[in-house]
């Protein structure tokens, strides 16, 4: 993959710019509605990562790395296991088992127990987005001699 823009085609660039916001909105919808409709952190994370990959493919590697900066990605990659583990440890703090959400007093009601599940899904989505995009950038950012 080259460092600069791959295509000069105005059509591709315009359609990409129009398409990326709906893709990211759909990814957020899939993450946040994981407990109501089909979806969840993994699926939504991959959808959001695909929008970043589309941007990097059309506008070039440098532009993609500029939009999703390395420092931010490095921060986001381990956030999923950290959020997940923190919620599990909070449950132990309220004398429950690891990840026993009902041990937390404000989540004892089943109506709002889905809050913890949503938080977990958001953490999963963040990690999946950052890791998938980082794998793409690592594989696409090789100097080729051919």
């Amino acid at each position: 993959m080259s460092e600069g823009p791959i295509t000069k085609d105005v059509l591709v660039k315009t359609v990409t710019k129009i398409l990326i916001p709906p893709i990211q909105l759909f990814g957020l919808y899939v993450i946040m509605h994981g407990h109501i409709s089909p979806g969840g952190g993994f699926q939504g994370g991959v959808i959001i990562a695909s929008s970043f990959i589309l941007y990097a493919l059309v506008f070039g590697y440098r532009e993609g790395a500029h939009r999703a900066k390395l420092k931010i990605r490095q921060f986001l990659e381990p956030l999923g296991p950290i959020i997940f583990g923190t919620i599990g440890l909070i449950c132990i703090l309220f004398s429950g088992n690891f990840l026993q959400y009902s041990a937390i007093p404000i989540l004892a009601n089943a109506e709002i127990a889905a809050t913890a599940i949503s938080l977990v899904e958001i953490g999963i989505g963040i990690t999946v987005t950052a890791v998938i995009f980082s794998i793409f950038m690592a594989m696409g950012g090789r100097k080729t001699d051919g």
Partner: protein, 94 residues
Amino acid sequence: MKMRKMGPLFVVIVVGAIMAYAVADMPAFGSLTSPAASYVSPTYLEEAYGVAGVHNAVTGVLAYWRGYDTFGEVTVIFTAGMAVLAILGRGFGE
């Protein structure tokens, strides 16, 4: 057919024959009384909304009853990403 293609074909046919023999013991497609549909899965479906508080039973099992499994899953994808970065490095010396 060349001789070196016969070996893999033989192995594949033997493995396929073993699995085809095992199919005779499997429950029919869409069976309501299969072992997979009998023991724990009705409980998951009945308690998904009342106990876990989610409409989607798949998410309920994933994050509520099998949360520890999912914790390992996130760790797996994080570790895979780190392995790729350890092998390849960040692109263009980022």
